[in-house]
Amino acid sequence: MTPMVDLAFLLVTFFMLTTKFAPEEAVVVETPSSTSEIRLPDAHVVTVAIDKDKRIFFGIGDDEIKDEVLKQVGAKYGISFTPKQVQAFRGAGASFGTPIEKLPALLNLDPEKRKEVTQDGIPADSTNNQLMEWVVTARSLSQKQFNAAPYIAIKGDGQADVPTVKKVIKLMQEKNINRFNLITDLETKPVAGK
């Protein structure tokens, strides 16, 4: 039995060390599949998620700039955050989808309660364009901190409607962001020409 147990423990250690738990998402997004084989990079990713109810969520991959982004965007809308709220924001999963006015209240809730709140999406229209504020701030901070522009990843639900996706793309283009990554699941590539 000894060799088997040895092996079992070896595997346990291996899996324990390699496992990276997926951060909790504020929204369930079923991504469509594609044959693209490019992997999503680990760092410097800014995610814009669009769910099937046309709600828009925003997420920053890098913890280092999260606080600063929150403070800067808050300052633009005249909202200041307490250190405790900033702390909560840092730990608040991968993405969020609340208008900034409601963000302090959301961050005051304890993590268990926060999950139950239905977030109504980040406003992204011409009069109240908070989404771009987040994206642009995250981009400039990432540029400053890491000397690299972040990857803008769009994570759309398969059932999301085209007008919302197109709106997001248009808004990005207005800010001169022309390169996107659409997050998809992997699908085996069929052989073309057969």
């Binding site: 039995m1 000894t2 147990v5 079992a8 423990f9 595997l11 346990v12 899996f15 324990m16 390699t18 496992t19 990276k20 738990f21 997926a22 991504t31 469509p32 599949s33 594609s34 044959t35 693209s36 084989e37 490019i38 992997r39 999503l40 680990d42 669009i50 990857y151 990843a153 759309g156 639900d157 398969g158 059932q159 999301a160 409607d161 085209v162 007008p163 996706v165 197109k166 793309i169 283009q173 207005e174 001169n176 022309n178 390169r179 996107f180 990554n181 659409l182 997050i183 998809t184 699941d185 992997l186 699908e187 590539k189 069929p190 073309a192 020409g193």
Partner: protein, 173 residues
Amino acid sequence: MAEIQQNSGGGGKGGKKRAKKMSTKIDMTPMVDLAFLLLTFFMLTTTFSKPTVMQVTMPVKPKDKTEQSEIKASNAFTILLGENNKVYYYDGLLSADTKPELKLSSYDANGIRKELLSRRSNKDLVVLIKPDDKSNYKNMVDILDEMNITDQRKYALVDISKADVDLIKSSEL
């Protein structure tokens, strides 16, 4: 395994009677159970595959109208993404006096892919993808994926025009 050598210490006498020799073997079963439980847990929760991404590069906004290039009708191929997972296509451009023939196709391997492959001989082909407002994001990803599969050199996501919508309506496909 976890056995301690009892007869160390010179090995001279060995005749002395000890009380009762206790076995030093530990029952490992619970530990092994736990090890396998953990093993299964981590194996099942591990996600090796990160999500993949599809890169889309949109054209930079032209500064003025003169920078925009016109596409010749003979090189244009338009794909319209309609509601209920329908996909239409036509050759050439739609204008007031020419109405190209709209055809219905599908997203599977024998649908739009065949049409794209059959037009591969035209090196200057420009595929215009026009998603209707009622189509969904999956359709858009699917068709962009077809572009990758069929190695299209030039394709663009374009807003659907009123004329295109009318064309779909009038064709009743």
